[in-house]
């Protein structure tokens, strides 16, 4: 066998190997790319799930913070006794602050406004005590919104003010129903 023949054989072998590599390589690549697609979908699902879990964790933390701040856990509220309990708590807070309470009026709230009841109360006391009451109402442990507040001088009681408060007690059951809808 001459050198030329050897060279021809060598080149032929290289071409055959390259062809086989390409042929089987493409097949393997094709199969591999199918697997890669499935893997990409799986990885995307994992990423999505991870972001969902993170959002849920954040919500749990936020709930803890707000719940602690307002001293309120909406899951424990029951509509049947909510207004009575809230009204009693407000009156108790007022009395603790040495505020002399006047008339207290309760009326049913607007259903559309997700309100359970509206309470109007009058009281007389020192300015600091009335402001303390305003602050306390937010953290009584009931879903109470102060709709309006009015200060005016207390008649025949120098150094004291009369405060008129309109409070709204929110209906969490209604809120839940609206959210589900």
């Amino acid at each position: 066998m001459t050198d030329r023949d050897k060279r021809t054989l060598r080149i032929g072998a290289i071409i055959a190997v390259v062809y086989l590599l390409c042929f089987f390589g493409f097949k393997v690549m094709k199969r591999g790319s199918g697997g890669a697609e499935t893997y990409e979908q799986l990885a995307a699902r994992a990423r999505r799930l991870e972001s969902e879990v993170r959002a849920q964790e954040n919500q749990a933390l936020l709930f803890e913070k707000l719940s602690g701040e307002l001293k309120l856990d909406p899951r424990k509220l029951t509509n049947a006794t909510l207004v009575a309990d809230a009204s009693a708590a407000i009156q108790r807070a007022a009395q603790q602050g040495a505020i002399q309470l006047g008339p207290v009026r309760e009326s049913p709230g607007r259903e559309k406004g997700r309100e359970l009841s509206t309470i109007q109360l009058e009281g007389t006391g020192a300015p600091a005590a009335t402001l303390t009451l305003l602050h306390k109402i937010r953290a009584l442990g009931y879903p109470i919104l102060i709709d309006s507040v009015q200060f005016s001088p207390a008649q025949n009681r120098p150094g004291q003010v009369k405060v008129n408060l309109t409070l709204i007690i929110l209906n969490y059951e209604q809120w839940k129903a609206d959210s589900d809808a």
Binding site: T2, D3, G25, V28, M29, R31, G32, G35, A36, Y39, L42, A43, R45, A46, L49, E52, V53, E57, Q59, A60, L62, F63, L66, E69, L70, L72, P74, R75, A126, P127, A128, L131, T132, L133, L134, H135, A139, P143, L145, I146, D147, S148, V149, Q150, F151, S152, P153, A154, Q155, R157, P158, G159, Q160, V161, N164, I168, L170, Y172, W175, S179
Partner: protein, 447 residues
Amino acid sequence: MSAIFHRAEDHLFIEFTDAAVFIACGDRVLEVQPNEGAIRNAVALLRPSATGEEIFCLIPAKGVSIRKIAVPARSNADVERLLPMQIDTHFPISADELAWGYAELPGGVGTMKELMVAAVRKETLKPYQSLLAETGLQPRFVIAALARRALIPAGVGSCTIVDTSGSRWEMLQETGGLPSVRLIDPGSPLLKEGAVYASGRDAAKVSATLLPGATPTAAIAGLRAMLRRGEAPLALGMSPQGFAAKQATTQWRWAATAVGLAILALALRVAEPGIRQRHVNSRIKELKAHQANLPKLEREVSFLQYLKTNQPSYLDAVLSVATSAQGIKLDNLSISRRGELSLRGQMQGAQGPSQMRSKLLESGYFSLVTIDEQTPVPNQQQVNFRLTALLRSQPERPVASSVAGEKQKAVRTNSPPSATNMAGGAASAMAAAQPPQVSVQPEAPGK
């Protein structure tokens, strides 16, 4: 990897001269006495850093014969087959008793190939072989004088190269492309003809050009230069094709490694999903289990946020009014959940309500402050007024928040302010604005 991709400098070079042995690898060169122990120690010292595969032994020109032989050959195999017979003809002793090597010369006609054949008696190599065999080395033998030729700049035709390292100088003369080697005495008149290049210890004594780049020795430098250029040196006992094939194998390793890396990169791409899929699956399972343990609090959080954000900060509003009102007799102050503030009162001087309005606006808590009505009280230099304003929501209070920040800095403690403190702060601010005037007075009967 370094063993695959080596440089010419990475081989181990051993040059024997009359007086010393030079052993070089990379940048390191050792000059030792030509005895077994010294050579063994030097080789042991340098060999670990020799990543190249070859060990070259450069021998002196003593006993070397160079001939030009023409061989009728179509292929290299023909050369290998016919050359020993031609050597038998051209040399006084049989090819079997010689260690010989050859290089092809340019200028062959048709199938006739012109070869430069260098040969030396096998007994001449034996001392070197036995010396190196002790160190476990099997080197390629190269004639040092021929290696020095590689340092001659291109374009120089006939020339003389002389090495002055030994007691007798080695002279290589090149005429018509065929070199001849002989030993001469120092100061020989032969050196005065043509272009002369000199190297070695006494090179300065020769009126000649020094061989360029002849470090560590001219022969080692020349051999390295040849290897760098990809030329096959004339090695005794080995055909140039054999050497070239070896060199080519080394070069092919680059290509093979590149192809291997490319295939590995593709394979990794294909294999990655298979390898990582299990990990991703287990991660999804973990996340699902964790998610199942977390409570769903979306509605509760939105309810609490609504509760927190849907009423103005009444205390802030009262505090702001209290600090803005100087000399006021307050009759009525009302604030609604929508942030509407309404204030009725009496002030000293006609400018009082306007000044109060400016202060309320400056506080940053209020917008749209309007004095709805202002009526002077006859004979008393006082004015009755009615004022309405809109309380800004929390994010719209840049000035207010900075003012509040400064106030907070002033009273900062390690514990958050209690309800009583905050309410008390607002009330005391209300009272401290102008104590006698700001205190809330009962309405006059019949008013």
